[in-house]
């Protein structure tokens, strides 16, 4: 997936993204980090074709995202958005099956492939025993797994997640990140996500894209780009970068 000179503005006056170039590597976990308002969620929105760039384009499989038919793109790229909503009496299984929409017309009924995809997604997200439950009986962590299961049911090579750990307590945050990692490792799904927590980004990413003021400030392997200077430059926070045998690399903020 290639990003070529992407500029995006919500109001045609102020550019939220200017002149973004780069690429998303296939089969890797890529995490976008950056301070509030730096355009990281906007970049994710452009990469998943939710926003149409004013200039430049994002190219997937040799074709600009904006040239895909909605359903064709939904077979290649699934998105778990930050805010989600569904009727509370809906069951886990039914909601997960929505991931098959791109494969169906308005009138077609469920096929064997659909059922297998749902089965696989529920198994991968460890939701098999919850399948008949209405979603209002789930915890926040379980609910987030359902949205991921729905995205998995689309059976796409790319999975995008916008701040998937927000609103979750620490257990569910790591449960979710472990799930994302296993989806990448075991099923080869390319992951692109936005995270707030730099340590989580370090631990779970192959590549980090650090953004500031609508531009890419640094891009590379966590060990290469996360330095005290870089964090000071991007976030304005003083940190100490530590290495530990058990914990690996991590940062500790010490002041501003």
């Amino acid at each position: 997936m290639d990003i070529n000179g992407v500029t995006f503005s919500y109001d045609n006056k102020l550019n939220t993204l200017h002149g973004i170039d780069g690429s998303i590597e296939t089969g890797k976990v890529t995490t976008i980090i950056g301070p509030n308002g730096c355009g990281k969620s906007t970049l994710l929105g452009v990469l998943s074709n939710h926003y149409r760039p004013q200039n430049g384009q994002v190219v997937l499989d040799g074709k600009a995202l904006t040239d895909f038919k909605p359903k064709e793109l939904a077979k290649r790229l699934a998105v778990v958005h930050q805010q989600n909503n569904a009727p509370s009496d809906m069951t886990v299984e039914k909601l997960t099956a929505y991931g098959r929409i791109p494969y169906k017309s308005l009138f077609s009924s469920s096929t064997k492939e659909d059922e297998e995809a749902v089965e696989w997604a529920l198994a991968s997200t460890n939701l098999l025993d919850k399948r008949k439950m209405p979603i209002d009986q789930l915890s926040g962590g379980q609910m987030q797994r359902v949205w991921i299961a729905m995205a998995l049911t689309q059976q796409t090579p790319y999975l995008f997640l916008d701040e998937p750990t927000t609103y979750l307590d620490i257990y569910y945050q790591y449960e979710l990140l472990e799930l994302v990692r296993s989806l990448n490792k075991e099923h080869g799904i390319s992951i692109v996500m936005v995270l707030h927590d730099i340590n989580q980004a370090i631990r779970y990413s192959d590549t980090i894209i650090a953004m500031k003021d609508g531009q890419i400030a640094a891009k590379g392997a966590p060990a290469d780009i996360i330095t005290a200077d870089a964090i000071k430059e991007i976030y304005g926070v003083d940190v100490v970068v530590k290495h530990d045998l058990q914990a690996g690399m991590y940062i500790v903020p010490i002041g501003i």
């Binding site: 909605p70 939904a74 958005h81 805010q83 909503n85 569904a86 509370s88 009496d89 929409i101 308005l106």
Partner: protein, 336 residues
């Protein structure tokens, strides 16, 4: 308590459907038998089949059209409510509240005033008026998304505008009042079989079409972003569903007059009884809406006979408390 609700969901749906269908049949037959002319069930069926009973002939000419119009108007308005609520993701969307019915009514009155001979085309004018009102509400409340509160406020404003315009025409043209009262009031008196033809035709088309788009209605309950990521053409879905809703609300208004509240009340009752899945909610609302207006009209006809209470008043009197009762019992509104 919650587990019990899940276990019985399927049964609960079935029971709800059976009860509503049974009540609809009972009320319909009872309503056909009751009134200033009374016959026995045997006389009614025999008379209808053979055409030899004068009382039954009068019932057939005067009472049956009225009953059928009540049934179709109730079904059409309720389904219109379900569809508008899906399109606007707003539990308060009701054709009578956001101005669709008022727009339909206004356009009908205006056209009758200007071209009295074109009475036959009233449903078409009503549709144009309803569509105009909906477009106004939708476009004016769209500001990088639909804010439910802004939408309702603008809907109320549009409703007030069209209601006011209708009344203004009423005051300015003395001779028109007779033909106008057809569209402005909700009594179902003096309905003819030609009225039944209109509402049965367009109402059935609209309800049938709504069955085809139930999946879209379900998808729109997700966030727009999510639906788009699943490859749903959200704008097309909204447009088509809204068009069907406007058709249903307009034809019901053109033939049966203004019924506020039905499109709000019936879908809410439906949600608490059969759930949010539009595959079930749309047909259930059609049946329950038909029952509600038929019951209201029948009560209005017999309670203080020989005078009549308009059906819309009875709807408000039964419906209001019933909705409050259901909302008090359930902890959720519109499934969230």
């Amino acid at each position: 308590m919650k587990a019990g609700r899940n276990m019985s969901w399927f049964t609960r749906r079935r029971v709800s459907f059976i009860v509503v269908i049974a009540l609809l049949i009972v009320v319909f037959v009872q309503s056909a038998l009751t009134g200033s002319i009374q016959v026995t069930p045997y006389e009614l069926f025999h008379g209808l089949l053979t055409g030899t009973n004068d009382d039954v002939a009068i019932i057939k000419d005067l009472r049956l059209p009225r009953l059928l119009i009540a049934v179709f108007a109730g079904a059409a308005l309720s389904v219109a409510g379900v569809l508008l609520q899906a399109v606007m993701r707003n539990p308060l969307a009701d054709p009578g509240i956001i101005g669709v019915s008022a727009g339909a009514s206004f356009m009908s009155i205006l056209m009758i005033a200007l071209f009295p001979t074109m009475f036959f085309f009233v449903p078409m004018f009503a549709f144009l008026g309803g569509a105009l009102a909906f477009l106004l509400v939708y476009s004016l409340s769209w500001k990088s998304g639909l804010d439910p509160l802004r939408m309702i406020l603008i809907g109320i404003a549009v409703n007030a505008l069209f209601t006011g315009l209708s009344q203004a025409i009423g005051f300015s043209g003395g001779g028109l009042t007779q033909s106008m009262s057809q569209v402005t009031t909700s009594t179902l008196t003096l309905k003819k079989w030609s009225d039944v033809d209109v509402i049965a035709l367009y109402g059935s088309i609209g309800i049938l079409l709504s069955f085809f788009v139930y999946k879209w209605c379900n998808y729109l309950a997700l966030e727009d972003k999510t639906a788009k990521s699943l490859g749903v053409n959200v704008n097309l879905a909204r447009f088509v569903i809204a068009l069907i809703a406007v058709l249903l609300a307009s034809v019901a208004t053109a033939v049966a007059g203004m019924f506020a509240f039905v499109g709000l009340l019936v879908p809410h009752i439906g949600r608490t009884l059969v759930g949010n899945d539009h595959k079930v909610l749309i047909p259930f609302s059609a049946l329950a809406g038909a029952l509600l207006i038929l019951l209201a009209d029948t009560l209005g006809r017999v309670l203080i006979a020989p005078n009549e209470i308009p059906a819309s008043i009875i709807v408000a009197v039964i419906g209001g408390p019933f909705l409050i009762f259901l909302l008090r019992k359930s902890d959720r509104i519109y499934g969230y």
